[in-house]
């Protein structure tokens, strides 16, 4: 199936958003073990969604064993408690539950969707508890998945989009943990014992946050949070919970050869942390620049006016510390220079002038006016709540979002952009460009 435009920019643009659609307000509390819990009670469907996230993403990988956070997360549900790998998968299928575990840059998360009747819910929650509290890290499973992971990585390293993205991250973050990338060698250096140690160090209740959405009462939600976190490893105070600030980049161009028919172009820099007050101004401004799908300035200039690319986008990805601002596009390799010129001219102009009042109003109308679309299902609510809980955003974040969007002025957006996007710091990666 072909779409008119990929939803890339929407998917990448941080989940932000908004409120009172389905649901009751966001409730929040901290368990006795120190876990932050965010909860939305909604009984419209007999479904419960649970996400537990730990400060255990790839940024916490040891420098010589990059890939450890990811392998640790992926083995959690492959044998835990009284069930081996096969029994876990069969038991989940028997009750129609869906559980998965994965690590991102900052967090590692286990997510669960289950039917809400007491019997199925109890089984599913017990299995999720086992996965985070009593993972087996079975040696046979580990060795097999290590080999698969290395094979998968070698394959990925032939793809222009992967090579381009990796060169980009390592260029803008250099030695910073966000710039460290798993290699076949770094994954091969990992042992089973490393997984167990990483889990003991990073999967404590104090490093956890929980998001709950669905057919539960507050009392049931509280009991569920206690159960999930009761048997986690004890916290180890000396294991870091923070990340260093990335260093400032200076403008440069990185070139990679590849036989692809299209050049993959990325332009950007480390830009914004999750706790930065200007993130809403940046997200709203970015709607005009390159986040608003078909109606953005970049799409107009690169795609509509010139036919240079199918996909062109920009996004901010706020993280624990400065996450990237990125512009990306793919165009036939002979056109790379021309396309980059257009991108720079649109960006420079936007940085200089910011959005016009009309452009800002269009962004506000779409983001604030269409806010209900961002929260009109349990799964969308759960995704938003997961981000809010992990980064400790205020419980009224969603509720206030439309008003904060409406309150922005063109000057506020322009000044936020000028502070967070600096031409003299932008790194350009050109892969397969002539």
């Amino acid at each position: 199936m072909l779409m008119k435009q990929m939803m890339k920019s929407l998917a990448l643009a941080a989940v932000l958003m908004s409120v009172q659609a389905i649901a009751a307000p966001v409730q929040s509390w901290t368990t006795a073990q120190g876990t932050r819990v965010y909860f939305i009670e909604t009984h419209a469907l007999p479904i419960v969604d649970v996400q537990i996230s730990f400060l255990a993403g790839s940024a916490f990988d040891p420098p010589n064993k990059v890939g450890l956070a990811s392998m640790t997360a992926s083995l959690l549900d492959q044998g835990a408690g009284t069930r081996n790998e096969k029994e876990v998968a069969e038991a989940l299928a028997d009750i129609g539950a869906q559980m998965s575990a994965a690590a991102g840059m900052d967090s590692a998360s286990v997510t669960l969707r289950t039917l809400s009747d007491p019997e199925r819910r109890a089984t599913a929650i017990a299995m999720m508890t086992d996965a985070i509290s009593m993972p087996h890290f079975d040696d046979g499973v580990f060795k097999r998945d290590q080999a698969r992971s290395i094979a998968g990585l070698k394959e990925a390293l032939t793809k222009p989009q992967v090579l381009s993205q990796r060169a980009y991250m390592s260029s803008i973050y250099q030695d910073h943990p966000y710039g460290r990338l798993a290699t076949p060698e770094s994954v091969a250096a990992i042992s089973r014992v490393d997984l167990e140690q990483f889990w003991r160090q990073h999967y404590s209740a104090e490093r956890a946050s929980i998001a709950l959405v669905g057919d539960l009462t507050r009392a049931e939600a509280e009991a569920l949070a206690v159960q999930l976190t009761a048997s986690l490893p004890a916290d180890q105070r000396d294991v870091p919970r923070t990340l260093p600030k990335p260093s400032t980049t200076s403008a440069k161009v990185v070139r990679l050869d590849h036989p692809a028919s299209q050049a993959h172009l990325l332009v950007g820099m480390p830009s914004i942390a999750r706790d930065d007050a200007e993130q809403i101004a940046l997200q709203v401004g970015n709607y005009t620049l390159g986040g608003g799908g078909f109606v953005s300035l970049l799409t107009k200039a690169v795609r509509e006016d010139r036919g240079y690319a199918y996909s062109v986008y920009s996004y901010f990805d706020p993280k624990l510390v400065e996450g990237p601002f990125t512009i990306g596009l793919e165009t036939k390799r002979t056109q790379a220079d021309d396309a980059l010129k257009v991108v720079h001219s649109v960006l420079d102009d936007f940085l200089k002038r910011g959005p016009t009042p009309t452009q800002l109003k269009a962004a506000q109308d779409n983001i604030a006016g269409g806010f209900a679309l961002r929260i009109d299902s349990n799964s969308k609510l759960a995704a938003n709540l997961g981000v809010m809980a992990f980064y400790g955003l205020p419980t009224d974040w969603l509720e206030k979002y439309p008003d904060r969007v409406r309150a922005l002025t063109p000057e506020a957006v322009r000044s936020a952009f000028q502070k967070h996007v600096k031409p003299e710091q932008l790194v350009t990666v050109r892969t397969a460009a002539d």
């Binding site: 479904i47 096969k86 009750i95 299209q262 078909f294 009109d376």
Partner: protein
């Protein structure tokens, strides 16, 4: 064919999901349909959980309806639908949807072309008027076309030319199907895109974009009577027009295994095996397509299903395996298995292992427990489906456009639940014959720069020679 009472049929998910069974029943009590005087079908499902709505318009036209030389025109037309009418200028469609807080997009497949907007429910009427306008009044001017066709060629480079697995699938379809239009890629061959003109698009639009070839689907916080009224005011005023004759393509029976290799930059080989199997023709009477669906679930429906267990975990000959079978199409179906060998194992070993796993089902059958597990997953997913308005609209639109009707959904669920272990064994014995099999292999090519440059030069020389 077996006859069972409706009451008993509907009790299957109810029993499996006790006490939540009622939730798995399809939305027959909140779904309403009508047909406009011009023949356009309208299906509305009221879902009042959130103050939003989705509108989809599905045209029963896809790449299956194309002819050689103009492949890709269904998809190009989809792109051009955003390029303006006399009252809604180029790019203005997207701007107007965005201005009311909405999102919009469109997609094209072998079988259909569909357009959608997700909006606050209060804005539904606005986007209905917009969508109706471009059903009738598309401008299709050459300047906009000349840019958009470049965009589509970039799309082809991105999705197909530079993706080794996409190239394998494109080549495989071209070999597996000889008479049937499924042999042609939805995005079109590059040379066809290069030679296409706006006149080809205009021709396509005139023939197929008529209300009697379309279905309107609305799901959301709406009142169906009100939506029917708006539909009459917007779409209802567009005159019907006779549709071109649709040819029926019979793919000749394949008599003998087919095989092909595709060379592309990669590290891991890829093996794709596809058997021609029946599609769902009569949802009420058919048995085998349902049994094939359940077989796919038993082979690969969860992490401990047969294929990942046998190939990835026990024998460790594969790093990954995927199974796909879609019984609901306008044209014929294939049952496809796709896998990459684990380094140290050959593609031949992988192929033998897959054949072994299939032979085991054919020889020994599957267990009652495996089937029950597949049913549990199926019934739970019926409940999860209700969390997404877009997902519900997709299902309704697809069933309507493919000719089954949206009411087939509960029937199909019950028929799937009625599949027995004997049915599963029967399809495993009947359909996985070599004579019906096409095997495609990706032969990985190194990225080595020197070698690539040399190859490119050779290709150029060949092309230059070919022009004379």
């Amino acid at each position: 064919m077996r006859l069972r009472t409706t009451l008993w049929l509907f009790s299957l998910c109810t029993a499996l999901l006790s006490p939540l069974g009622a939730w798995a029943a399809a939305g027959t009590d909140n779904t309403f349909e009508t047909t406009l005087a011009n023949g356009m079908r309208v299906v509305v499902r009221e879902d009042h959980r959130a103050p939003t709505a989705v509108q989809m318009v599905w045209y029963r036209v896809g790449s299956i309806d194309e002819r050689d030389g103009v492949t890709g025109v269904a998809h190009v037309t989809e792109h051009m639908m955003f390029k303006g009418t006399p009252i809604v200028g180029p790019g203005e469609f997207n701007r107007r949807v965005a201005a009311v807080g909405g999102r919009d997009n469109a997609f094209t497949s072998n079988d259909y072309t569909a357009y959608f907007q997700q909006v606050p429910a209060t804005q539904l009427k606005t986007v209905m008027a917009l969508e109706a306008d471009r059903m009738r009044h598309l401008t299709l001017e050459p300047t906009g076309y000349s840019k958009e066709i470049q965009v589509i060629m970039e799309e082809r480079r991105m999705r197909t030319d530079d993706q080794s697995s996409a190239r394998v699938h494109e080549a495989m379809n071209a070999v597996a199907w000889q008479a049937h239009p499924y042999r042609r890629p939805v995005i079109g061959w590059m040379s066809d895109l290069e030679q296409m003109t706006v006149a080809d698009v205009r021709d396509w639009y005139r023939r197929w974009y008529v209300p009697n070839n379309a279905t309107l689907v609305v799901v959301g916080d709406v009142n169906h009577q009100q939506v029917f009224g708006w539909a009459r005011q917007t779409y209802g005023v567009i005159p019907a027009r006779a549709l071109p004759e649709r040819k029926q393509f019979e793919e000749p029976v394949q008599a003998g295994q087919r095989q092909l290799d595709v060379k592309a930059p990669a590290d891991l080989p890829l093996l794709v095996m596809g058997w021609k199997v029946p599609r769902l023709n009569d949802p009420r009477k058919d048995v085998d397509p349902y049994a094939l669906e359940m077989l796919a679930q038993i082979l690969d429906g969860h992490d401990a299903a047969r294929l990942p267990t046998a190939l990835v975990k026990e024998q460790q000959v594969a790093v990954s395996i995927d199974t796909s079978y879609d019984s609901t199409n306008r044209g014929p179906s294939m049952f496809m298995l796709q896998a990459s060998p684990r380094p140290g194992h050959s593609v031949d070993q992988l192929e033998q292992a897959i054949r072994g796993a299939l032979a085991e089902v054919a020889n020994k059958g599957v267990s009652e427990q495996e089937l029950t597990r597949a049913r549990s997953q199926l019934c739970a997913s019926e409940v999860y489906k209700k969390d997404s308005m877009m997902g519900q609209a997709m299902e309704i639109g697809m069933l309507e456009t493919l000719g089954y009707g949206w009411q087939a959904s509960p029937l199909m669920l019950d028929k799937l639940n009625q599949v027995t272990v004997a049915d599963v064994q029967w399809v495993a014995q009947s359909y996985f014959k070599d004579d019906q099999l096409t095997i495609a292999r990706l032969v990985p090519q190194p990225l080595d720069a020197a070698e690539l440059a040399a190859r490119a030069k050779r290709a150029e020389a060949v092309q230059a020679g070919g022009r004379h």
